[in-house]
Amino acid sequence: MTALRAVGRHLAFPVAPPARLGMIRVLLGLFILYDLWFSRTALPRLVRSGAEHWEPVGVMEWLALSPPSESVVRFGVYLTLGLFLPWTLGLAFRVVGPAAAVCLFTLWSYRLSWGMVYHNFHLPAFHVVIVGLMPAAAAFSLDRRIGGRWERWLGWQPRGAEEWTGRTLQFLTLVTALTYLLAGLAKVRGEWGWAWANGQNLLDQIGYDAVYKDLLSGGAGPLLPFLYQHPALLMPGALLTLVVELGAPFTLLSPRLGRVWAVGIWGMHCGIVACMDIWFTYPLSFVPFLLFFPIERLLGRWGNGPSASAGLAEPT
């Protein structure tokens, strides 16, 4: 009964130290800065693909935009980079948070409008929008260090910082869980049904990708012949994939379940790297799963917000 009550309380009144959300904001910001910095020259050059390959999605589709010029994209890249710097530092976050989220969302809409929607953009895009629209700079922020001047000026001092943080982390968990749940449901609702768990379709998908890599890229990974010799080895991988994807919503029940799940899903992404050389950098960075861990304790004394390192009851 006590455990059930704890779960119920965690679902209805989630609380967490603002320092955790502050650290997630910082790490998410660093991830975006890293990603944008290394794609800053490649992104504008996508325009050279030619208008015939322009298949607008997201903001580009909603606003029926035609392909922008290289210089406009370059400006957008540096503007977004420029906004994620104060985002990471936690400066003027009331303005910077939403502005950075809008810029990144627009930039990534452009990025994915050239005939291929890469699915590794969806989860970080949602996370950036959620964190950007919540008071995520109550700790680990320059706003705090300089005495809350920006916060006061912009009127962003919400009451109940712990509840704001708890609910924001719950929101992030919900989105993370649903994206993986959908991937799992697509598999069992597809032509294979539950037989997807036998690993045959997984082998087919890996093989299909590898054939193309042999013909159009650096080549298939070294594991391929081994996997075709021992196809049964993929069955545990397929089974584990279904378990972690379909089990994702259970992470909403308690951070402890979330921690177990995070390790499982991270392992799945490592398996994808090993078998297919496909790098889902955001999940592989582990940043989206840190919300299940009391990471604020690592740098507790540096957290400068309310209850930055307070020992709030951690639901189990």
Binding site: G50, E52, G160, A161, R167, E191, L227
Partner: protein, 155 residues
């Protein structure tokens, strides 16, 4: 003791969670919208579709006067990554003769200045029939190859 959030704050967060949650779950109902790929909501059933026994990849090769060939990687024509390059090539072929000819010229343009393609005289866009098991367990030789389009490499 923690301070309490305002009612407006709670409504803001609950409304956000509800709207985003419903939007994310929309793909489960395929009555109104057929599965398709999009951003930020994707209807694409990743790793879920059945693959045929024989794959039909479209690819490009550079050919030298002595008949020697080399594969052309997607980085030659796009900075958008392997999958984007593959999709663009396949789409150009699907769009017909003119589009694939234009694409062939784009490949040639991308090859210019690359030492690995020095002396190449022709580019061919091909489609192959490949049985995956044979490809990975035996020789990497397609069962069938057909040339879809070709163009000369000009300086």
């Amino acid at each position: 003791m923690t301070s309490e959030m305002s009612a407006a704050g709670r409504i803001y967060q609950w409304a956000g969670m509800f709207i985003v949650g419903v939007c994310l779950l929309l793909p489960l109902d395929t009555r109104f919208r057929k599965p398709h790929d999009d951003f930020p909501l994707s209807w694409y059933p990743m790793f879920a579709s059945k693959r045929p026994d024989l794959e039909s990849p479209v690819y490009a090769v550079a050919i030298w006067p002595d008949g020697h060939e080399a594969k052309i990687t997607t980085g030659t024509w796009t900075t958008g990554g392997f999958n984007e390059g593959r999709t663009q090539l396949a789409n150009a072929v699907k769009q017909g003769k003119e589009a694939s000819e234009r694409f062939c010229q784009r490949i040639v343009k991308g090859m210019r200045g690359r030492s690995s393609f020095k002396g190449a005289e022709r580019v061919e866009i091909r489609i192959a029939k490949i049985r995956k098991e044979d490809w990975f367990l035996e020789e990497k030789v397609p069962e069938k190859v057909r040339v879809l389009r070709g163009c000369q490499v000009t300086e």
